[in-house]
Symmetry: C2
Subunit: 398 residues, 2 copies
C-alpha cells in the first residue's frame, strides 16, 4: 500500500513540546521543559466532590452535549469574567479542548493558504505549528520588555496586510513578559485600523507575581466587546484547575463564535461534557479563586527560588529577566551557543529544557532557552540547576 499523504503533512513535524512530554516520563530526568503545573497542588478532593454532584444530577449528565459546550459552565465563566470587569454572554463563548483547540478552530475558519499572520518574536511554538498547517505565512514582530514594538508592528501591518495578529500579552510563553497598558492600547488601535483580527492567548493571566495592585487588562476587555470586537480571546482551566480536564474557552463576536462552533462540530462534535460539568460544579461550589491565589503564591515562591539559583550561577554572557507571572524563565545565551546541542548534553546529565529556536517563526533564536519553574519542588529545582550548571560549563567560556 502506497500512502498518498496530503501536502500539509510536512507542517506537522514533531515539535519540541511533543518530545519533551515523552522525556518527562523518564523518572531520572529533572525537567524544566514542559509547561506543567505542580500536580501536588491539584484540587483533587474538590474535583472528586464535583464529580459526585455531576453524577447525582442523573443519567442525562452522560449523554451527548452541545457543540458550544455545557451552558451552565459558560454561564459560570461569564460570571467569573464579569467579576474581572469583562462583560460577555454565553452566546459570545465556545468551550474547547484546551485553548490549543481555540487556536486551531479560529485558524480553520479565518486563514487561507498564503494569508499572513503576525506573531511575537518569540511566541508559543504550538501556535506556530497550527498556523503553518493551514498554509499561513508567518511574519515576526519585534518585542521588548513592554510588549510588541509599535513601530515595527505599524510597518508590518502596512507591508503585509495580515488577517490575524497572534499575541500573548500577559506573562508570555516563552518569555514571561507582560505588556504595558500603552502597548496594549497601541496594538489594539493599530490592528483595528488595519482590519487585522487579534487572537489574544491568555493561559497564564491568573498567575501574576509581585505588586498585587498592578493589573494587566486583557486586550479583549480594552476593546468594545463583544459585538464587532477585533479581539478573539482564549483561556483555559489547565493552569488553574487541572490539565487532564482539557477545558478551554474562547470569547469573541457571536458571528465568529457561531462559525467556530460549526468548525468544531466537524472537528469533534463536542469536547468532554463530563469534564465541563465537573468544572461547572467546581466553579459554583468550591473556592476556585482562593485555590488560584494559593497556587499563585506557591509559583511565585518557586520563581524566586529559581531566580536566586540563576543569580548564583553567574554564567558569563547569559541574560534573563524575572518573569512577571506565568510559568517560565527565558534565557539568552552567548551567540556562540546552540541551545539545541546543549539540550543533548543536559539530558545526558539528567536535566531538560526547551531550546528557544522553536519559539521563533523566523528560525532565529538558536542561543535562547526556556526554563519552567512551576513543576518541580524546591529540592528538585536545586538538583536540576546543578545539572544544568554542569551542562552550561561545557559550552560557556568562564
Amino acid at each position: 500500500m502506497n500512502y498518498r499523504y496530503s501536502k500539509r503533512l510536512d507542517s506537522f513535524s514533531s515539535s519540541a513540546v511533543r518530545e519533551i512530554l515523552k522525556l518527562t516520563q523518564r523518572k531520572s530526568i529533572i525537567s524544566f521543559a514542559g509547561g506543567l503545573p505542580a500536580e501536588e497542588h491539584f484540587p483533587v478532593a474538590a474535583i472528586g466532590e464535583a464529580f459526585q454532584r455531576v453524577l447525582a444530577a442523573g443519567n442525562k449528565a452522560l449523554q451527548y452535549g452541545l457543540t458550544e459546550g455545557y451552558l451552565p459552565l459558560r454561564e459560570s465563566i461569564c460570571k467569573w469574567m464579569a467579576r474581572k470587569g469583562t462583560k460577555v454572554t454565553p452566546d459570545d463563548m465556545l468551550l474547547t479542548t484546551g485553548s490549543q483547540q481555540a487556536i486551531d478552530l479560529l485558524t480553520r475558519i479565518y486563514i487561507d493558504p498564503g494569508d499572513v499572520i503576525l506573531v511575537e518574536k518569540p511566541t508559543y511554538l504550538s501556535a506556530l505549528q497550527v498556523f503553518r498547517s493551514y498554509g499561513a505565512v508567518l511574519v515576526s514582530v519585534d518585542t521588548d520588555e513592554d510588549g510588541m514594538v509599535l513601530d515595527d508592528l505599524a510597518a508590518k501591518l502596512k507591508e503585509h496586510r495580515p488577517k490575524l495578529v497572534y499575541v500573548i500579552p500577559t506573562f508570555s510563553n516563552p518569555t514571561g513578559k507582560a505588556w504595558s497598558l500603552e502597548r496594549r492600547q497601541g496594538v489594539l488601535a493599530q490592528c483595528r485600523a488595519a482590519d487585522a483580527l487579534i487572537l489574544e492567548d491568555d493561559p497564564y493571566g491568573e498567575l501574576k507575581f509581585g505588586d498585587a495592585s498592578v493589573t494587566y487588562p486583557s486586550l479583549f476587555s480594552l476593546d468594545q466587546h463583544p459585538q464587532g470586537s477585533c479581539v478573539v480571546y482564549t483561556s483555559t482551566f489547565s493552569k488553574t484547575a487541572a490539565p487532564a480536564l482539557r477545558t478551554g474557552w474562547v470569547m469573541a463576536d457571536p458571528d465568529i463564535i457561531r462559525h467556530m462552533a460549526r468548525a468544531k462540530q466537524a472537528a469533534d462534535l463536542h469536547s468532554s461534557s463530563l469534564d465541563q460539568q465537573i468544572l461547572h460544579q467546581l466553579m459554583e461550589h468550591y473556592d476556585l479563586e482562593g485555590h488560584i491565589e494559593f497556587v499563585r503564591k506557591e509559583y511565585e515562591a518557586r520563581m524566586r527560588q529559581m531566580a536566586e539559583l540563576l543569580s548564583e550561577q553567574q554564567w558569563p554572557g547569559v541574560t534573563w529577566n524575572e518573569p512577571k507571572g506565568g510559568m517560565f524563565f527565558w534565557l539568552e545565551l552567548p551567540e556562540s551557543v546552540d541551545s539545541a546541542k546543549l539540550l543533548q548534553t543536559a539530558v545526558d546529565l539528567g536535566v531538560a529544557f526547551v531550546p528557544g529556536v522553536s519559539f521563533f517563526a523566523d528560525g532565529t533564536g538558536h542561543n535562547t532557552m526556556r526554563l519552567n519553574f512551576t513543576h518541580n519542588d524546591f529540592d528538585g529545582t536545586i538538583v536540576g540547576m546543578q545539572r544544568l550548571n554542569q551542562a552550561m560549563e561545557s559550552v560557556l567560556v568562564k
Copy 2:
C-alpha cells in the same frame, strides 16, 4: 471590524444534526432524530466507581497526558480487539475525541483540495461535512442490501483515482445495513489494487441484532494488518459506555498513526485524559461486555417495537427494511414527498426525524428519512409514531 473569513467557511454550514441536538432539548418534542443512546441504561454507578479508582491513584491522574492517549487504555482496547480476533498494539492506535475526530484528523493528513473521496450512497452526514471542509471532491458509490455495489465501485475507482474510500460496513448510519462478507472482501481487494485507502467507521459494530452466530468481520481484520494495511479503522465508546466521555480510537499502520498524532497535537494537544482513565478502569474492573450485551438486547427490543409500529401504519409507497444492528430505521417515501418539508409539519405536531438528503453527497434523497429507535422508551415511541403518522397523512395519498 470587517471579518475576513477563510474560503473554507462555506463548508461549515449548519448541519441537520446540529439543529436536531437543539430540537431534542425541547421537552415537548419526541425525537427520532439524533443518534442518542438510551441514557437510562448508562453504567452510571460503574463510572462513579471507576472515577474513584482514578483519583485514588494520585494527583498525577490530573496532569497533562500524551497526545497518543492514555497508554493503559490503549492496552485495554488492544486486549478487547484481540478477543474479537483483531491483533493490534498500542503503537497502531490513537485515542481521539470521539470517532468524529478520527475522521477529521485522517482527512487533515491525507486529503488535499481537489482529491476525490468515494462515499456510500447514503452515508454519515458529518463525515461529508469534514471531507468538504478540506476541499475534497465527493463521489457517491451505489449501495444495495449487501453493501457497496462492486461494479460501480470498480468504475469509480478507475474513473476518479480516489485517495480515500469512506465506509460504514456494519450497521450503517443512516441505513442500518450490514455488508456481506463477499462485498467486504471485494471492496478490500479493489481498493488495495487501486491504492485507495479505506476509512472504516464502526461506531455500531457491537450493537448486532438477530442470529448471534452471524458475524461481521471488520474490513480492518480481513486485511493484513496493521503494517501496510489499506484500512484505517475507527470506533468509539459513545454508544457502548457513554457519549459524555467523548472517547474514540483509531487503528492503522503505525506510520499513519504517527502522522495523525502530530496533527492531533496541533489540533488540541490531547483529549480528556480524565475520561480516558475512567474508561480504562471501566474496561479492567467492570463487565463492559455484559453491559453491552444488556444494552444490545434492549435496543433490539426497541427496534422490534418500532418495526411493528411501522408495519401497522401501512403508509402507501413508503418502504423500509429491518436494520441488522445499530440505531436507525431508514425510510424511502414516494418521489413526490420532500422529507425536509415534512419535518416542519412533524415538529409542529411534536415529533422529529432527520431528512435523508443530508446523507447524500450528490444532493439526491429528498424523499428519504432516518428514524432513531434507541433513545425513546416504549411509551415515547408509541406517542411519537402516532404524531409521525399524523404528519405522514398530510403528505401521503391514501
